[in-house]
Subunit: 444 residues, 2 copies
């Protein structure tokens, strides 16, 4: 095994599950190992306490007049449940059929370590990097980065940079280098409808009072028209239309055809907003989704109960230039106006994040494309992501800098799921990509 794979395996052996307090020792040990690794490479590496898990920072000696590049990653991982579905031990990485199997292999230790080891190689071979580098690695990404914004504010000067690079997103297909230039935003809420003071017998009372489970269904049904379009008034007001070149490029991006979507989701048919392709629907159109709905009897068989309450958990994916606060106001108005009679409504706002869009033809983005082209030996595609990475917007808000999304994750990487994996080929391409990226960013 190469020393680089050995380094990654050592990193993967830490059970750095940030959400589980039983693992807080593992999270810290992982951060300390990482600081040691970075320091051993010749960087100035420091561990910073936060109210939660520590942040690890590392820099080379910064020189006046050189471009400054910040590379972000996270060393914490998702929980491993359900453990019984793993074919290997999640924290004992193994190599199988050219893939590294372990929790965090793709998300995010594998991708982040490619950057670390690219820098190590450059330092060893060249003695210095072509840029002023800042590595910023946090241990709380999987729990929503609760302390990162404050850390950025406190270290704004130290973190001043020209551009940020993150490898924590997807590649559309194996061997197809992918630059992300947009993310959907999000705004969540939970709606509770309350009717009778307790569950009622549906025979004795059914027909005389509103059924909160029926009412929540009617309320949810009011969110869309019959054609899959969100029916909240003003919902699309701020949506930027797709540009011609986007539709053209996306039509030929591998891995995201309607057939691919059918295959990967296993849905009996696709369904979405009319006149848009699947890729356009997830990358550039907003949605209203039910993440959870519940009320009444949940067990086997039947129980003739008229439930006292019912809930729905909603999330809205947003695209430029929708604003989460504006959408939440419109959604709340809609829900209150469409609430069926005989129940009381409570709308509890949840977390949100703005949508993100950068110019994929800026000098930095062009440099990133050059680096991707060189390291993968193929023409990069330009995509947006359907998901949300709120930290990208936080970087823009606090540091005033845009982010390049150089994803190395494949669709079948089993991120957040059992049997997470990362191809060795992506790991090695990631190391090459880091080296090329710093060169290209230095000269662009």
């Amino acid at each position: 095994m190469s020393p680089q794979l050995e380094d990654l395996f050592s990193f993967l052996r830490f059970a750095s599950v940030s959400t589980d307090s039983r693992h807080s020792g593992d999270v810290r040990a992982c951060a300390e190992w990482l600081r040691g690794k970075l320091s051993g490479m010749g960087l100035i590496a420091t561990l910073h306490e936060t109210p939660g898990h520590p942040v690890v920072l590392a820099k080379n000696a910064h020189l006046e007049g050189r471009r400054t590049v910040l590379i972000y990653g996270h060393y914490d991982v998702q929980p491993v449940d359900p453990l019984e579905l793993w074919t290997t031990q999640p924290f004992e990485p193994v190599l199988r059929d050219g893939k590294i199997l372990a929790r965090g292999a793709t998300d995010n230790k594998g991708q982040m370590m490619a950057h670390v080891l690219g820098v190590e190689q450059t330092l060893r071979e060249e003695g210095d990097l072509p840029v002023n580098l800042i590595f910023l690695f946090e241990g709380e990404e999987e729990i929503g980065s609760p302390n990162l914004a404050e850390f950025l504010r406190q270290h704004r000067e130290e973190l001043r940079c020209d551009v940020i690079a993150i490898s924590d997103t997807g590649m559309v297909a194996p061997g197809v280098p992918t630059l992300g230039y947009g993310l959907r935003g999000i705004v969540c809420c939970e709606v509770v409808l309350r009717g009778p003071k307790g569950d009622l017998h549906s025979g004795i009372f059914g027909g005389a009072v509103s059924n909160p489970a029926t009412a929540i269904a009617r309320l949810v049904a009011s969110l869309h028209d019959d054609h899959g379009r969100v029916a909240v008034e003003g919902f699309y007001d701020a949506v930027k239309p797709l540009e011609g070149w986007e539709r053209e490029m996306w039509a030929s991006v591998p891995g995201v055809s309607d057939a691919d979507f059918l295959d990967v989701t296993g849905a009996p048919a696709l369904f979405g907003e009319e006149a848009y392709s699947s890729a356009e629907r997830v990358w550039a159109r907003p949605t209203a989704e039910v993440n959870g709905i519940g009320g009444g009897y949940q067990g086997e068989g039947s129980k003739t109960v008229l439930p006292a309450e019912a809930f729905v958990k909603l999330s809205f994916r947003l695209v430029p230039d929708q604003d989460p606060a504006d959408i939440m106001r419109k959604v709340t108005d809609h829900l209150e106006r469409h609430c069926p009679p005989g129940v009381q409504i409570e709308v509890k706002p949840g977390h949100d994040g703005k949508p993100y869009l950068v110019d994929p033809h800026s000098k930095f983005a062009n440099a990133a494309q050059d680096a991707l082209r060189a390291s993968f030996g193929a023409e990069p595609v330009l995509i947006r992501e359907g998901g949300s990475i709120p930290i990208v917007q936080t970087f823009r808000d606090i540091l005033g800098v845009d982010t390049l999304l150089l994803g190395l994750a494949l669709a079948d990487a089993q991120v957040h799921a059992p049997n997470e994996n990362f191809p060795v080929a992506n790991f090695e391409a990631g190391i090459r990509m880091n080296r090329a990226l710093l060169v290209e960013l230095a000269k662009c």
Copy 2:
């Protein structure tokens, strides 16, 4: 304590929970105690095995030319969970503020024992009963009487009778004797909608595939119009309109005004089919109710999942002359026709029971009213019940005999719930009512 209350307390001490196999010894012991009690009174009492819990039969010596009356009851009870909400031990009956507190106090041991002890009193004082009597007591009512129909078929000759009486329904208010002459029927089903092969990330895939939780909501919403009327085509075709005298009587029945419904349900407002009172809505109008709905994330906070499937458990309360099989066909057609695109639908039929209606002015019903009037010292009201007692229809189908519903249960009896109770006054009135009933039925 009176010997009659002592008998009831002995009966209540058996934990005859029919649904719980850990209690099957208690159920049998209860049946044997009951057989012994009936036998000690001078009746010919027998215990009959079934594939489940035993049936207890008892008769006096039948005489040619006398009317034959069958009195049905059940000696099994509901489970007691949640035990921590009881203020007493459910199987250690106590007397408090004129009420008997115990599981089964109202449903059905208290009501049924009133009949037993009425018969005992008559036998002791008169030497014989004015009618040929059959007591039929089962131990499986709370689990849907799975073996009773077969028992009725096998013992059809032995159970031949002119009329059946049951005290297992409600009184509209304390001191207001109540004769039930109708029951709603029921038909249940569970609907499952399946979309993607597994739960999806709502960011990565949201917008491109149908969300089964959204789809189930839209499907449920299709079941009613905006005014609370069921929107299934042909649903109301066979519904018998209310008669003038029913609407008139029910308007003055105590305990079932709109204010009473608001008070007892605690709903923020009443809601139901336009142009009907609450009593009319639950006693004489059919419904479509959601008993349970579920799909996606059910825990605290949010999880941005697009669920693979969602379900709804539906029940339809039916009124004369709706037929459960016909309604199930219409409902299935409706569900399949209104199923949103992009998901697969499965409709699983559940249990059903026909609605029930008898002439409340037949000679037997008039005799029952006379008995109620005499034993309570008040004018009886004639009502229907919103619930379903499938066994009543089974009696009609197999024995060809109608049933009188002489309910003694109050609205606050906590039937099926913690702190079940039965007023001593109702118990004593029930004993008097049994005696008067047999006299009136003998001479009508």
